[in-house]
Symmetry: C2
Subunit: 327 residues, 2 copies
C-alpha cells in the first residue's frame, strides 16, 4: 500500500535532515538519544507564523534557516552547544511543494553548518497561515550556563555585533525604506532574514558574563529582563550602540531610524553584563569568537527593570515603544 | 515598567505549570535540566490546529489535556517515562482570556496527574486559528525502548483498551451520530476529547512486546507501519477488535460504524506485537498495568506494509480509507 501523502513528504524532504541514529529514520513516535555524559540539557522552543514573524515574500529557505537560527540563538545566549531539533509545521492545504522543497533545503544547509540534526516532529494542515514551531535541544557543562539572572547594579552592559540591522532590513523588504544602495539594502535584508546565532561567543563568555540573553524583542526591552531579575535599573547610551555601515547609511537618510538599535527586534545579537574591570576578559572572549563587542550602558540602582536610553547629551530619550510584543 | 502583555500572560497562566527548577521560572531563553543518570532521552512533538485536530466547541481544558496526552501517548508507546514539556501556542489576536485560563487549568490538572512540568516555550499571535505545538521529553532505560521496528512475520498483533471510541465520539460531538443514550454519548465524547496515555502498559511491555506504537491514525494504517518495518503484511480480524459498551450501542444503531475500530483515529491505545506463545506474559503485563488487552490479528508473509481486515466469515473487508492522513 502506498505511503499516505504526509509520510511520503516526510520521507522525501525531512529524512535527509535526520541523519542520526537518534531520529530512528523519523519512523517512530519519538526520537531516542543518549544525552551527552556529564552535561546539562538546554531546551528551548520558538514559533513563527507567516505574515507575522516572517514575510510571505521571504524565500522558504531563509524562513527555515531563521526558524532554526532563532532557536540556536537561545542556546548561544546560555553558552550551550546544539544537540538536535524537533519541528512541527502546520501548512495550508494545497501548499506549494516548491515552498516545502526550499524550506527543507534551507534547513539542510544549516543542519550541516551547525551540526544539528532533525530528531522528529509533526506535519499537519491548517486553514490558516503556515505556522512553524521548532524545539531545540542543547547541552552545557553543569554550572556553566549563562542565565538572565545573575547580574548586579554597577555592572557594564555589552552587546555583540551591530544593532538595528534586522528592523531596518524588515523596512527595506516592506518597501518602507528607500534610497539605500543595493549593497546596503541587501545587507540589512539578509540580517533580517538570516540571523547569526552567536554560539562561539556565548560559550566564550561562560564564566565571564554575569547574565546574558539574545536580543530578539529590542535591546531596551530585553535588557529590562536582566535588570528586573537583578532588582535594578539599566541605562543605555544611544551613541554607544554599535551600528553597521548599512545602518549608518539608513540613519543618514532618516535620523529617527537610529532608535531601532534599542527598540527594534530580530537582531539576535547577545546582550550581557560583566563587572567593570572585566573589559579585557570580555574583549578577549569576543576576539576568540571572532565577533565584535561593545559596552553600551550599565546597570544601576533604580526601579527593577526600568530601562533609560540616553542621547548624545546624556538626556533621556523617549521611546514610543521599547520593543516587540507578541500581542 | 509594566511587563508587556505576553509576559504578563505567561506569568499568570503558565508559571504555575513550571514549578520545577529546570524551567528557571520561564524567565530565560531555555530550560536547563540534568538528564536522569544512565537513561536514554525520548523526545516527541505533536501539533494541533483548531477546527482540524479539535473542535472549536471543545472546552479549552480538554484541548490542553488532549495536546499533552497525545504526546504522553508517544512516550507510552516507547515504554518511556515523562520528564517535562515545552509548549508553543499561536493564538488569534483578541483571543478570549477565558479560553486561555481554561487551557492552563487543563494543563495544570494533567501536569499533576502525570507529574510532567512545563519547561518552556513561546506564545505568539496569529491571524489564523489557534495552533498548538507541544514537545515532550521523557526517559527510558537504555535498550528498553519499544520501537515500531522489531516485529516479525508470525507474531500476534495486540491492542489495549477498546477501539473506535474516539472516532464515534467525534461523530457524536459533530451531531452526526444520534440516538445513543446520554451516558454512551458522553463516554464516547470523552474518549475523543481526553485520551488516556497507556504509560504503565508501555513500561510493562518493555522486554515482552517486539514492536509497539500508539493508535492515532487508525489501527489499519498504524499496524501498516509495524508491518512495513518488519518487511511483512498484517491481518486484522474485525470480530476480535475490542469495543466499548458505548461503541457496541452505536454499531447497533448503524452497523457500518463498526469499521471505525480499524479506520478511525484518535484512540491512543497501544498496538503491539509479541511472539505466539507469549500470551500469558502479555496478559500479565496488562493486568499489572490495569488495562485490558486483546489479540486482534497477526503479521504474516506478504507485501511489506499491506494490511488486510477480515470479517466474521474470514473474508477481506474493503476499507474506503485506512486511516487519517494529515493532508
Amino acid at each position: 500500500m502506498p505511503l499516505p501523502p504526509e509520510f511520503a513528504l516526510i520521507a522525501k524532504y525531512f529524512a535527509p535532515l535526520a541523519d542520526t541514529p537518534a531520529a530512528l529514520g523519523l519512523s517512530d513516535d519519538a526520537a531516542l538519544l543518549a544525552p551527552p555524559a556529564g552535561r546539562q540539557l538546554v531546551v528551548a522552543a520558538d514559533a513563527m507564523v507567516a505574515g507575522v514573524h516572517f514575510l510571505d515574500s521571504d524565500p522558504a529557505d531563509t524562513v527555515a534557516r531563521k526558524l532554526l537560527r532563532v532557536n540556536l540563538s537561545d542556546l548561544a545566549a546560555m553558552a550551550a552547544e546544539p544537540l538536535g531539533f524537533l519541528l512541527t509545521i502546520a501548512l495550508p492545504k494545497g501548499f506549494d511543494s516548491v515552498w516545502l522543497r526550499g524550506f527543507a533545503a534551507g534547513l539542510l544547509e544549516d543542519r550541516r553548518q551547525f551540526d544539528v540534526p532533525l530528531l522528529g516532529g509533526d506535519t499537519v494542515s491548517t486553514p490558516g497561515p503556515a505556522t512553524l514551531s521548532l524545539t531545540i535541544l542543547g547541552h552545557v557543562e553543569p554550572g556553566r550556563a549563562l542565565l538572565r539572572r545573575g547580574a548586579a547594579a554597577g555592572e557594564v552592559v555589552w552587546v555583540s555585533g551591530t544593532l538595528g540591522d534586522a528592523a531596518l532590513g524588515l523596512r527595506v523588504l516592506q518597501g518602507r525604506l528607500r534610497g539605500l544602495s543595493g549593497r546596503h539594502a541587501a545587507y540589512l535584508s539578509e540580517r533580517y532574514r538570516v540571523p547569526e546565532p552567536r554560539l562561539e561567543l556565548g560559550r566564550a563568555l561562560a564564566g565571564i558574563a554575569t547574565a546574558a540573553l539574545d536580543v530578539s524583542d529590542g535591546l531596551a526591552q530585553d535588557i529590562g529582563h536582566i535588570a528586573r531579575l537583578a532588582g535594578c535599573a539599566a541605562e543605555l547610551e544611544a551613541p554607544s550602540l554599535p551600528r553597521s555601515e548599512a545602518a549608518a547609511a539608513a540613519i543618514g537618510l532618516d535620523a529617527s531610524l537610529g532608535l531601532l538599535a534599542v527598540a527594534g527586534g530580530d537582531d539576535y545579537e547577545l546582550a550581557f553584563t560583566a563587572p567593570p574591570g572585566h573589559e579585557a576578559m570580555v574583549r578577549g572572549a569576543a576576539e576568540a569568537a571572532g565577533i565584535g563587542v561593545a559596552p553600551v550602558g550599565r546597570l544601576l540602582a533604580g526601579e527593577a527593570g526600568e530601562v533609560r536610553v540616553l542621547d548624545d547629551a546624556g538626556r533621556p530619550v523617549r521611546l514610543e515603544r521599547t520593543g516587540w510584543s507578541h500581542f
